[in-house]
Point group: C2
Chain length 379, copies 2
């Protein structure tokens, strides 16, 4: 019995003011192609379907089309839970009316205790979904104490385990931060100060736990307790992370294997570093020059409009850092300290803009102005 585990789609996300929806659509098409070539028994999405509780309508349409293809045309059951980015009530509208078609959105605690049971070659497999929850929500619903995320997840896991039937295998979908797991820059914290961490111990009774929230694929504590990672890269810090889905196999004993199935976004997110001239040279022959680029310039002199120059070879350059221009950050003032003085910088600028150096008179005039401005700032 096989199913695909994915999470953290964040449909509709913007990255440096660029919409990622076309990239996301391309990756969803890869999922469909994979399913057509490699039949599975279900697709699970462990939360953060959308990037916001009120997603843009274009993202809703992409999701609706995906669902229509997978549930409708391919007749594959899809099981999902809302994550901390989703609006549970919005996502869960009329979810009971979708079940007959194989679309299962488990968006509240009542549905959490009613598993989606899939009959397979190894018998019945029950998929339980724990919609994203925080301690307050759990206290309110269960009327039991749950001081932090760990206790909340322990409590909900117990409630689910009580539903287990001896003849069924049990899969859990949960959107949470398992203690000790590896973070990326693109996840929104669930709470401040580490109280969002959940022990993987609570999840031991399951045959497989499909986790969402963290964007790097990883297992936690056991081979069968896993994050699939996000659909694609959502920050430059993820440039070296493998992205994809997890193909899970169960047999009559329970968990058998988990295999990473790569998914590749049309544009990768990556960081390039070097002097401007080097980067421009390299860009001319870079086969992937359409990637989303963060450039770190090591040049030590001022450069006029480097973004525009780089955009000619890297059309999707999104951000620029100039570490070569800095010698550090003034901690007290919270300001970056430049490696070169204002007069030097102006000399560079003038030379580049006018193609000739400052005359002695000009240099003296600029120097006076800078002195005046500096004095005014200090007052």
């Amino acid at each position: 019995m096989k199913f695909l585990h994915t999470s953290d789609w964040h449909l509709g996300r913007q990255f440096h003011n660029i919409s990622l929806l076309e990239d996301q659509q391309a990756v969803l098409a890869q999922i469909i192609t994979y399913i057509q070539a490699h039949p599975v028994d279900a697709l699970v999405i462990a939360g953060d379907i959308y990037d916001r509780s009120v997603p843009p309508t274009a993202a809703i349409e992409v999701m609706s089309q995906f669902i229509e293809t997978v549930c409708g045309e391919l007749s594959l059951p899809v099981i999902m839970i809302p994550g901390n980015h989703d609006g549970a009530q919005r996502l869960g509208f009329a979810s009971s009316q979708m079940k007959a078609s194989g679309l299962h959105i488990i968006a509240n605690f009542d549905d959490m205790l009613k598993p989606v049971v899939i009959d397979s070659s190894i018998g019945e497999v029950a998929f339980y979904g724990m919609p994203y929850n925080d301690p307050e929500l759990v206290r309110h619903h269960t009327k039991q104490p749950a001081k932090d995320h760990d206790q909340a997840h322990q409590l909900l896991s117990q409630l689910i385990v009580e539903q287990f039937k001896p003849e069924q295998k049990n899969v859990l979908l949960s959107h949470c931060f398992v203690d000790g797991a590896i973070e990326s820059d693109s996840e929104r914290p669930l709470s401040i100060g580490g109280s969002d961490r959940v022990s993987h111990e609570h999840f031991r009774p399951f045959d497989y736990v499909a986790l969402g929230h963290l964007h790097q694929p990883q297992k936690k504590g056991e081979e069968y307790i896993r994050y699939s990672g996000s659909l694609m890269k959502y920050s430059f810090s993820e440039q070296h992370q493998a992205k994809g889905m997890t193909l899970v196999e169960l047999d009559e004993h329970g968990f058998k294997s988990a295999t990473h199935v790569p998914l590749t976004a049309p544009h990768q997110m990556r960081i390039i570093e070097g002097q401007l001239e080097e980067l421009i040279e390299q860009g001319k022959t870079d086969a992937n020059n359409h990637d989303y680029i963060l450039a770190r310039l090591t040049d030590k002199h001022a450069i006029l409009d480097p973004m525009e120059k780089l955009r000619k070879v890297y059309p999707n350059i999104l951000h620029l850092e100039k570490p070569g221009m800095l010698i550090g950050v003034d901690q007290q003032m919270g300001k970056a300290r430049l490696a070169r003085g204002e007069l030097d910088m102006f000399r560079d600028f003038f030379l580049e803009a006018k193609q000739e150096p400052l005359t002695a008179d000009q240099e003296s005039a600029v120097s006076d102005i800078i002195s005046q401005l500096t004095r005014q700032q200090e007052v």
Copy 2:
């Protein structure tokens, strides 16, 4: 064969900063009670389910619960179209996945040509839904000219009529402004300058046309082309309108009858008029003193905090008008002209606040100040 026609629910609407959701919920409960007592073959909602394209989550939950009761527990098919207040794509998410359960949200032009066919005692009845559309949307979709709402609806009606099957009766849901129909204060105009009017002639080929948009129940041109009116009153201008649903009966010849089924919101919206003291007296014995009230005071003298005084007997007073204080509106200045001068008004105020009249000295001082202020304004 019988079905219920409703429209313009506007779930989640606010009225003078009061949420109407509890009233709406109470009226939805009346619909459910009616259906339980008087079995019908379908419930249709001709648009404006919600008041906004992004409705509050509480409104989504009320709707989801209603659907679960009607489609789920009562197994009654529900057919709806988005209106101009709804977000079609948002409302239409995963609509294909809901059909099997009897929930039919017809939110795009492709679905418009695929009727919901209900098999009944008189044979098959095809329900076509025309999602709310404006001319630009229709031009874009059909690639045909449609300069105004009338031409757009003519074109879409033709497309639908071409789908007719001889053995079926045909019902249309449409959200538009049929020419000559009666408006209320609470409808949002579809376009400016009257170009939103649609002739009822385009709708003649149908056996029944379930219209939405206008809040007063009414027929247009034919007995079988009707507005059901809104779920409840949404402006004081609707105080004398009957609110409810339309029970439609078809037989083997087509349209048979349309009957108004009243629905009554817990709080009515109404206008009371008179002098403050009279209204307060009357409020003390008013059995419906919890209604949403607009009070029109005919008193000609200034009154300190009349809203607070009225609220003691009419706790849900929402708005106050003081026609007695005005002798008209200065057209040129766009300002209301008061019936009494500033000095008279101050005398009233002082008497009420201090329980004694102004002395001659005080009156002279106030008079001086008013003269000064008036001169300053004139400069």
